[in-house]
Amino acid sequence: MIWFKPSILSPSYADARLGWGLAAAAGLAAAILLLIVLLLLRESWPVLQRVGGVRFFADQGWYPAEEMYGLAPMLWATLAASFGAVLLAGPLGVASALFCRHYAPFSVARLYRRMVTLLAGIPSVVFGFWGLTVLVPLLAQFQPPGASLLTGILILALMILPTVALTADAALAAVPDAYLRGAAALGLSRGATIAGVVLPAARGGIISGVLLATARALGETMAVLMVAGNVVQTPTSLFDPVRTLTANIALEMAYASGDHRAALFVSGLMLMGLVIILAAAAWRLSGGRLHG
């Protein structure tokens, strides 16, 4: 019945309206991102222009009052805490998802999945409380002062574990049944099926989940601020207290003014840069198919 419409490719008016509405919503989301980047640039511009970008990496310390703007120690702390957390939570999360999908009885898997979802919903400040009152004193018994890179890593790992576990679980669930039946029909054991078929098939989803979790760890502020000790220094051991870029902003924003304030915006810009690099990596690693 093609002759009822001028062309089968031209949508109806209702369709067109819906299309425009959706495009407007998508445009708004993109515009907000752009505006945030522009704001960061505008606010950090005075200090960037006056002292130059290099000094934020090269300065020996963070003494904004004396015009020393070395962000490098905090950048290293941020990176160390995030990647340490991913190193812990990544394998753990994938393992728990594998258990849930392929080994646990149905009822256990369902309960476990609900618990992990709940874990994802715990506010970060609550994690911080727990770290401050339990983890830090515990560690202080062995290696004072307790508040350190290690506690930061542990808290962050706990926080991103549900992200990794839930995205990996979704990626495993998306592995077609036909693969599993095919593997079973070839007489593959469960372990061989997982290593040889399931993980390669779910790789893209798992990697993008881990990168998403990394981005979350990079941006996490409150919990890390509460447990990491907040001393500006490049960590040389796991037991050194550190301050992350996010914690620095949260700690000083309230009273900073002038170039100091602008310098804090530079650290925001730096975080943004890290997340963009990460997103690009996720895109590349998952072969351009970030979601499925």
């Binding site: 693969y179 599993l180 039946r181 095919g182 593997a183 029909a185 007489g187 040889g196 390669p200």
Partner: protein
Amino acid sequence: MTSTIDMHCRPATGTPADAYTLGPLQSGPSCCDPEPLIRVENLSLSYDNKPALAGVTLDIYRGCITALIGPSGCGKTSFLSSLNRLTDLIPGCEVEGRILINRQDARAPDLDVQTLRRQVGMIFQKPNPFPLSIRRNLEMPLREHGVRNRSELCDRLERTLTDVGLWDEVKDRLDTPALALSGGQQQRLCLARALALEPSVLLMDEPCSALDPLSSAVVEDLIQRLRGRYTVVIVTHNLAQARRIANYAGFFWVRERAGTLIEFGRCQQIFEEPAHDLTAAYVSGARG
């Protein structure tokens, strides 16, 4: 049983018999001399207490092609999956009865299911190569079953790909993704993957129905070539295909909400002189 000579015992005409490395068609035990390899006695199967198959008894003969025909939902696929215990994977699936494969009880609780499935390969309706390279698709199951020697792996890879007529098409791109192959090529790769494990039985669940007519003809030719070397059980909705390739045929139908075997016999007899009215109606196209 009729006394006429089974037309399928002569080599298939059309292509030279030695075009592939499977060798002469009758290199295995002759299918004119029936010797049961699989004996199924009173097999019943249910999903969540709903019967899907009731009281199936039949013998499957060594080196022959046995076709299972009948309408959808009459338990043919369930029957097939119970032979390699793939039914174990389905929650709520209960199997009763006896299945003897090569005089061994395939339903014994202490049976090594992995070894059983190595001996009883399966091809599915939709080609299901793994999302790996062509080479890995073949090597991974072999490694799992203890073939680790490099030259042995390469050897089997080339032999089975040649067997399914795929070697010349893919020999220059063995390390490219298997999913980039066409549907027909994927199905032949799946066949090669099953053959690489050197099974004695091959179960095929409508192996041609997801393929275009040309690819379907290629796969059908291949199945013809398996006769004698392997015992093939094939489920098909294509009656003409069953008639062309099978030595034996079993006709399934739904009775009292459960699939049952109505008639089993030589293919020629089922199609030309069916003993049962339902069979006659089905093969003539009057019902089903």
